[in-house]
Symmetry: C2
């Protein structure tokens, strides 16, 4: 029979999905009850629950909790888990709007939210009207997910000091990822040979949003000082860029069965990535002509995509990107070796770095 | 030379637009500087500034400040003005997404945000690609406005007690208006003869969002108790419904030159309003056939719209709606007569009620 308080557990990322899913599931149950009481449509919470609870790696919540442990993790973990869950709710918002903007039909092997809502409201409507309605309804569902990510923070039982430390970071994270998405969207279809611009997109869209800010937010909940934040950034930014560079490679060369996404979409859309920028910079005249003709060509099929892949490879761009990934992973591991984190945290962050380095093409 | 602190000024709604615009303008200037430092595109803050500062009546900010005065308005007004400005930023988010969902080309006599962004990014792109890009960019711009409305609250220098009182109200307001918009969107094109469902939309989309919650939020900043909140609701909900009912009438019978919006769009879209529900309920067989044929008909032109108007009038629906408006305004004025508000506040709220009653058709 324990009379002493339990010892603080070491960080175990395997616990995160069930902990976060429990909070999200309970939050949505309350929202569904309130909707029912107010004669509001129930498909809103049903569709969001399906989307949230049937996929996703819970990477951002895990990093938020890791950041809290990295800073010593004093006090009760429950409010930290609620903030971690809010990051997943926010991420749902990002993905729902992203799929509307990209006109994507499939996410995590299932219909995207706007497709699901178009089907839900398709009765007695033409396909075109149902599609437009599905897009509009998905915009609103994403808006709700964003508002509810706030509510999860506001109801997390944070102290005034925690609120004062964490709200500015959350605000900054949101502005960064939205600008990153904006830049990604508006450069798509018009890639240039400027790898710096592509790296800026990777920095805001991925390195800061997916890795650095979740770590910072968790650390802020533990009252971390600026020095620890700098140490976390020294790990997070290179590893985050490595992640995006790996993602860009997989978007062109990956096996759809393993990555879960088609590998011609990025080429057909003409995404402005570091891979493409380097290829455009290194291409000779004939290669450049073919790249400009086929990249972002809406009629691109598998044949043309294979020609594109051969030219990209011939410019040496994929090897150069592998080199950039390798350098960033080494930089992150060096930062980690010097960081004053508990073993359980270092282990998880090192594993993440290995995952980004691994060639799964 | 004044050595005494100035006496608290009475509430003057004429001051609100310039006070709120100053806060919004300064906030966006800081955001533009940060974007410039981070090599982010400047059209984001430019377009949002144009949208925010060249139109709008500042009704929600005025009501927020009125709510604060109604509750005695103790302490510094500056944080209240920042929260009031955040409501205007949130409203910009609502309108930007609404225009994307409705495919509207014009707002306040100018191109909508998605049209402006489509034009901005139209260079070297086909019109269809530019339109899709404009819609996506406007979704992100709206998302930023929503995130920035949070930031305006977080940086308003509120006390912990004010934060604890006001954040749940802001969360509730957001959920209500998003559900209201969702219901509005998904019932459009399929109006029924159920006026209660239309009144539910009006309650969430307008009465709570535009009138009740801004008053509540202002009152909460002054530490108001539940009793005062009930008094505010007794005024706000009927007057808010009256506003929406008036808006529905103007959407069908108003003079575009005076209302600033076309008067066939609602009929062509098949909006589910109280006016339409009553007409469908009262229509005889021939009238019902014509209503069902023409309401929500995408090919509806001015001739058909005029036939629709004549049939709607013949059912007695507009007169019934006028009656509902009148009853609600009387209810609101009675609530006001019994309310313990300072004269300057009662005067403004009474003026608002008169504005809703006025037949400007």
């Amino acid at each position: 029979m324990g009379v002493h308080p339990p010892l603080a557990k070491a960080f175990d990322p395997a616990d995160v999905p069930s902990q976060v899913n429990k909070i999200l599931g309970e939050f949505l149950s309350v929202k569904a009850e309130q909707a029912s009481d107010g004669r509001m449509p129930l498909e809103v919470t049903d569709v969001l629950r399906d989307f949230l609870l049937t996929g996703g790696k819970r990477l951002r919540p895990a990093l938020c909790i890791a950041g809290w442990y990295a800073a010593g993790g004093p006090g009760d973990v429950a409010p930290v888990l609620s903030v971690a869950a809010s990051l997943e709710m926010f991420h749902a918002f990002c993905l729902i709007h992203d799929d509307v903007m990209d006109h994507s039909a499939v996410r995590r092997g299932r219909p995207t939210v706007h497709r699901a809502l178009a089907a839900h409201h398709g009765h007695n409507r033409s396909p075109a009207v149902a599609d437009a309605l599905g897009a509009g309804a998905a915009i609103l569902l994403g808006d709700l997910a964003l508002a509810w990510s706030d509510e999860l923070v506001h109801t997390a039982d944070l102290t005034s000091a925690q609120m004062a430390d964490v709200l500015p970071l959350i605000d900054t994270m949101r502005t960064e990822v939205m600008y990153g998405q904006y830049l990604d969207l508006t450069t798509t279809g018009q890639p240039t040979d400027d790898p710096d611009r592509a790296l800026t997109i990777a920095l805001y869209k991925t390195a800061k949003y997916t890795i650095e800010r979740p770590l910072h937010i968790g650390a802020a909940l533990a009252g971390a000082d600026d020095a620890l934040r700098v140490v976390l950034s020294a790990y997070a930014l290179p590893i985050g860029e490595a992640f995006q560079l790996r993602d860009d490679l997989l978007g062109v060369y990956g096996h759809p069965a393993r990555t879960g996404k088609p590998r011609t979409d990025d080429l057909r859309a003409g995404k402005h990535t570091v891979l493409i920028a380097i290829a455009l910079r290194r291409a000779d005249e004939a290669q450049g002509r073919l790249l400009r003709e086929l990249l972002g060509n809406p009629a691109l099929e598998e044949d043309g995509a294979n020609r594109l892949r051969r030219v990209l490879t011939a410019t040496g761009a994929p090897a150069a990107v592998e080199h950039l990934i390798q350098a960033r992973c080494e930089q992150a591991e060096q930062a980690l070796a010097q960081a004053p984190f508990p073993d359980s945290v270092s282990r998880v962050l090192r594993e993440l770095a290995r995952h980004a380095t691994a060639r799964t093409v």
